[in-house]
Symmetry: C2
Subunit: 160 residues, 2 copies
């Protein structure tokens, strides 16, 4: 079974997001072994100090990378990544898992975004939207897309 | 206060989505008078009959258009619409409300998408993402983006 580690910088506060996450994780158990890892997000008291922001973001990146093994295929959810249709994403995912036996790690950055060392280590970057979403909602969108991808790749109907 | 009617084809089933909707509608009361309208989504027993699908989609469109007044500015959430950043969306929205005193209607199609008469009547079409999202999640994303837009346009901090 495909192993996917979803590494999230920051956690979910709202119950409705936790419930949504739980629902999709449950649905996904049929298709993949998914491990969800939460890395602490730094508390930012001021967004005015750019150097401090960069340093904090990089600290978060280093903490996230502790969960990325040497041979893992690392995907980032990144506003500057590639935009794909769900069908193309499903196709790319299918190619990846058929040619690759490594674990797949997917990182969702926190409020600050993705630190430099994550960008450098990454194998692929996906842009969900030109719009900025809260990372908490990005997590739910990612889980739903993963579910959609497995449905597409298994020729199972999914009309929502 | 700006009047926005969000016209949704189909309803929310999951409690976590209803809770998310309620939360954002509550947050938005400070900025706009938002009315959420649900139009029945047709039950589709088979997706094989293209003519029937088109007819059903058009019926849904006609039902949605009953809530669109003659002078309303009609926005569609549409996979084939324009992709914008949150900042550009905020700017466009700000321009719209400063030059326009009409109500704004935003339609989210159902599982089948948007019927022809909705496309014809529309003033603007926005694409959230090249990815296909369930219309229920699109509704939450839209509410969050509206909230984000008001925060941006009021120079209020919003780091999520």
């Amino acid at each position: 079974m495909i192993k996917i580690n979803i590494i999230c910088i920051g956690n979910l506060k709202e119950k409705y997001l936790k419930d949504a996450q739980e629902e999709y994780l449950k649905r996904l158990t049929r298709y993949a072994s998914i491990k969800l890892i939460e890395v602490n997000e730094a508390k930012i008291l001021s967004f005015d100090n750019a150097a401090l922001i960069e340093k904090t973001k990089e600290n978060e990146a280093v903490n996230a990378l502790k969960f990325v093994k040497k041979d893992d295929y690392l995907v980032l959810m990144d506003l500057h990544g590639k935009e794909l249709s769900s069908e193309d994403l499903a196709k790319g995912f299918s190619n990846l898992v058929s040619t690759n036996t490594r674990d797949i790690d997917i990182v969702i950055g926190g409020t600050l975004g993705l630190g430099e060392s994550l960008l450098k280590r990454s194998n692929y970057r996906i842009c969900l939207s030109k719009l900025t979403f809260p990372h908490q909602i990005t997590r739910i969108i990612l889980l739903e897309q993963l579910y959609r991808i497995f449905k597409i790749n298994n020729n199972e109907s999914y009309h929502h």
